[in-house]
């Protein structure tokens, strides 16, 4: 694919680059050296804090312009020395799509946002119109031109952002964590889109991500692996997947590869690894995988221990908004000790359901019972003693500057005596692993730690049920594992019932015993996760994507894919990480 391009001059050159932010004590990049050739698609991968975003900022000029620091070595982009160029000049060579799709979308409507850079370049209206029309058609968003950002899904916003970069005919496309805010279906579509436009228009494309399996869908030529500020690998996806680099630095391997390794296949013998669709497995190898799967004993489904939450014939319609988030005739019951995932598209009603359970909004008809108690007569505050809701964005919950004060707030508001508050707060902080930090300001914590603070601030109220909105969004594999192990501990040791609103398919498979699928305000399915993954209709309705595990499962000679997935998960859970 990239053979003849090697002869061209590199379009991006990192020449033994060291970098240290002014605000930090240690170097963020150490001796990073690589070339990118025109037309290549490069994936930069690494755990959070590895320095991969720093590399991106060195390419688009945010270093040193927005983030000052000390740079040694040279970065050259399209013949320009980055350190002495302005962001404006560099933006004509590198188009950047930031991770935060809402921050990136600055126009009032789709059309204006696509035209934004053209407006800044003083392009005439007629020319602007033509370009906006052309690019919106190519990216299949021409029917959305008059929409405002909050009328769009995450995937649609992403497309608008990409169009807004492409209108300038820029040679280099830089995407910072494009998967972070997308559901699996939109993520897969975005990667396909990046693949097709890069190939079609000969862009040089740089994708910064920590989710390897999904990113490989973009058909990348080369992967740069960054860890602790160093470039630890610069190689093809196939070679990377055959090496041990990924497990050493804590980036998750594709699941199909795990399955192949568990089944004892020799992965080094495969000519191509990467996107599962490109991997060719022989019948003999498939049989070997199936035999391995068959040897795993199927787990017994644990019996329920009595209903802790019952939802009966709930109807709900927003009066103020355009009626997009209505719920109709929802009934289910959650057993004590359950660990349940709630999936569906944005606007399918997942968040509305959580808000109903917490009493933030009232159902138009139907009942909700928590611990056999009707919630309709209880105040938000009283319900909160039974159900804790952890919002996706910890910054929406944190209102104090010190950790102790934040965690104590709910009890202070309830007028508890100080010594009892202290006792409870310390206990919650111990459970959350934050006790050593109890006198720290919250601003000194990492994102994951902030999420734990919000959980601790709910735990002090001692609820029976915890609802978590996207508990692992935007976290790399190491942090994901840490967070989920913690939630599982709450479930097992503290006997809490856990409901998680999520798009994360790994989370569903690995940690929940049951999944509620919502679509357009209806409860479409209430079943085991593996049943969802092996049902194309449910996958589509919930905006999930086919996992490589399911694709592999479908190829097996006699075992149903659902069986294969659940056996795999069973085995995977018991493998020490």
């Amino acid at each position: 694919m990239m053979k003849q391009r090697q002869t061209l001059q590199p379009i991006i050159q990192f020449n033994h680059v060291h970098f240290q932010y002014d605000s930090q004590a240690e170097k963020n990049l150490i001796d990073v050296h690589f070339d990118v050739h025109p037309g290549e698609t490069i994936l930069i991968i690494g755990p959070s804090g590895s320095g991969k975003s720093t590399i991106a900022r060195c390419i688009n000029g945010q270093i040193p312009n927005t983030h000052p620091g000390k740079l040694e070595g040279t970065v050259t982009v399209n013949g320009r020395d980055v350190y002495s160029s302005s962001i404006f000049d560099l933006s004509l060579d590198v188009g950047t799509v930031l991770q935060d799709t809402d921050g990136q979308f600055v126009g009032l409507t789709v059309a204006e946002d696509i035209a934004f850079a053209l407006e800044n370049d003083c392009v005439e209206q007629t020319e602007m119109r033509a370009k906006v029309e052309g690019w919106s058609r190519r990216l299949e968003i021409e029917h959305l031109l008059e929409r405002m950002p909050h009328q769009l899904s995450g995937g649609q916003k992403q497309r608008v952002s990409i169009s807004g970069i492409l209108v300038n005919d820029i040679p280099i496309l830089l995407l910072d964590e494009p998967l972070a805010n997308l559901d699996p279906a939109a993520g897969a579509e975005t990667m396909e889109l990046i693949k097709s436009i890069s190939k079609q228009h000969q862009y040089t494309t740089i994708i910064v991500e920590h989710r390897l399996e999904e990113a490989l869908l973009a058909d990348v030529d080369r992967v740069l692996v960054i860890n602790d500020g160093r470039l630890v690998a610069d190689t093809t996806p196939t070679k990377l997947l055959k090496s041990n680099v990924l497990s050493e630095i804590g980036v998750r391997e594709p699941l199909y590869l795990n399955a192949m390794k568990y089944a004892g296949l020799d992965v080094s013998s495969f000519p191509v690894l990467g996107n599962f669709m490109d991997v060719s497995l022989s019948d003999r190898q498939l049989v070997q995988i199936e035999e391995w799967a068959r040897s795993i004993p199927k787990s017994e489904k644990p019996e329920g221990k009595g209903a802790v939450l019952e939802v009966e014939n709930i109807d709900f319609s927003y009066t103020e908004s355009a009626g997009a988030k209505t719920l109709s005739n929802i009934s289910f019951s959650i057993q004590n000790g359950d660990m349940v995932s709630i999936v569906g598209t944005n606007g399918a009603g997942k968040s509305t359901l959580a808000k109903l359970i917490c009493g933030f909004v009232q159902p138009t008809s139907g009942n909700i019972r928590i611990d056999n108690q009707e919630t309709s007569r209880l105040s938000i505050k009283e319900i909160a003693d039974h159900v804790g809701f952890i919002m996706q964005n910890p910054n929406h919950m944190i209102s104090k500057t010190m950790i102790y004060d934040e965690v104590a707030l709910g009890l202070v508001n309830r007028g508890w005596p100080e010594d009892q508050i202290r006792e409870r707060v310390y206990e919650a902080l111990r459970i959350c692993g934050l006790y050593p930090f109890r006198n720290w300001p919250i601003s000194a914590l990492s994102y994951g730690q902030k999420r734990r603070v919000t959980i601790a601030s709910i735990l002090v109220l001692d609820p029976k049920i915890l609802i978590l909105d996207e508990p692992t969004a935007g976290q790399d594999y190491a942090h994901y594992t840490e967070m989920m192990a913690f939630i599982q501990k709450l479930n097992v040791e503290n006997d809490m019932t856990i409901l998680m609103i999520t798009h994360d398919m790994h989370l569903m498979q690995e940690y929940t015993n049951r999944t509620l699928v919502f679509d357009a305000g209806k409860l479409l399915a209430d079943t085991e996760p593996s049943a969802v993954f092996s049902n194309p209709e449910l996958i589509q309705a919930a905006h999930l994507a086919e996992t490589s595990l399911y694709q592999l499962g479908k190829l097996l000679p006699s075992m149903p894919a659902k069986d294969f997935i659940s056996r795999f998960m069973q085995y995977d859970r018991e493998v020490p990480r």
């Binding site: 688009n60 945010q62 927005t66 962001i87 404006f88 933006s91 004509l92 950047t96 930031l98 935060d100 809402d102 921050g103 990136q104 600055v106 126009g107 009032l108 059309a111 204006e112 035209a115 934004f116 850079a117 407006e119 800044n120 370049d121 003083c122 392009v123 209206q125 602007m128 906006v132 405002m148 950002p149 909050h150 009328q151 807004g164 970069i165 103020e320 908004s321 355009a322 808000k355 917490c358 933030f360 938000i380 505050k381 909160a384 804790g388 809701f389 919002m391 964005n393 910054n395 929406h396 919950m397 944190i398 209102s399 104090k400 707030l409 709910g410 508001n413 601030s457 709910i458 109220l461």
Partner: protein, 277 residues
């Protein structure tokens, strides 16, 4: 909350909607200024009828403005009463004449001059408010920024206005979410708690909103810089609508009205039309 509730703009195809945003902005500002300064009753009635007619032309759906109108009415009545409460004979001073209609309690008499003055104030409300409503409900928010830029506001500040409109729905969502999270933790904002308590506790909502917004400011400014906002001395506008002949006609009409208003200052020898002399 839907955007319709936030900004009011309702797409339609009336004469008013077809005017460019700049025309409406200029007309709104010019007419408001002349109506605010003039106390010539005849002129005010004329402008009131004119603006109510425009309001009718704009075909703004009643259900969209009902609550707004009630708000405005309550506010107007309250303000008229307050004026009376503070200066029951203010009209007497202004018009240098005193026609008592009824002796009330103490200084609270009822004079024709006071009634006339307050009538003028009321007419002012009823001529400026339709103008504001027309402007808000018939101007595409997307045209706002280019209109401001057109009348001489720098494009940076114009774009700041556009950004405000862009992020109001997002910030509103954040606000509701934050408030719910704090309520669940037992935040009490009702009158049950003392005033100082209520003020300090509102910090539980405002603090997260501020930190959220500071983050947003960083990201948005990076995104804009990476797309070259602020590189040139000016910029073009995708939604800018150039003046057409109907805009020229509308502006001529507005200039005419303003000139009449100013001419009346000269005729009346001041801002007031005085029927009592």
């Amino acid at each position: 909350m839907s955007p319709a509730n936030t900004f009011g703009y309702v797409a339609n195809d009336t004469v008013i909607h077809r005017l460019s945003g700049s025309t409406k902005l200029i007309a709104f500002i010019a007419l408001s200024l002349i109506v605010m300064t003039s106390y010539d009753t005849r002129f005010l009635i004329g402008v009131m009828i004119f603006s109510l007619y425009l309001f009718y032309l704009a075909q703004i759906p009643w259900k969209n403005i009902r609550i707004l109108i009630y708000f405005v009415l309550a506010f107007s009545v309250l303000n008229l009463l307050t004026i009376y409460l503070f200066e029951p004979e203010y009209g007497v001073q202004l018009y240098e004449s005193r026609t008592v209609l009824a002796e009330g309690i103490g200084r609270y008499t009822l004079t024709a001059e006071q009634l006339f003055y307050e009538l003028n104030v009321a007419i002012k409300y009823f001529s400026t408010i339709p103008l504001a409503l027309i402007f808000v409900f018939t101007t595409d928010p997307s045209e706002f920024a280019s209109s401001l830029n057109r009348i001489g506001v720098s494009y940076r500040i114009s774009y700041a206005v556009s950004l405000a409109l862009r992020y109001i729905p997002d910030i509103q969502d954040s606000f509701f979410e934050i408030r719910q999270a704090q309520q669940a933790r037992g935040l009490e904002m009702s009158r049950k708690t003392s005033l100082v308590n209520r003020i300090t506790r509102s910090a539980q909502i405002i603090m997260p909103l501020i930190f959220n917004s500071l983050n947003r400011i960083e990201v948005v400014s990076q995104a804009m810089e990476l797309r070259r906002f602020g590189r040139n001395k000016n910029r073009t506008w995708y939604r800018y609508r150039p003046f057409a002949s109907k805009d020229i006609a509308a502006l001529a009409l507005v200039v005419g009205i303003v000139l009449i208003g100013m001419y009346l200052f000269y005729v009346n020898g001041g801002r007031f039309y005085n029927p009592f002399q």
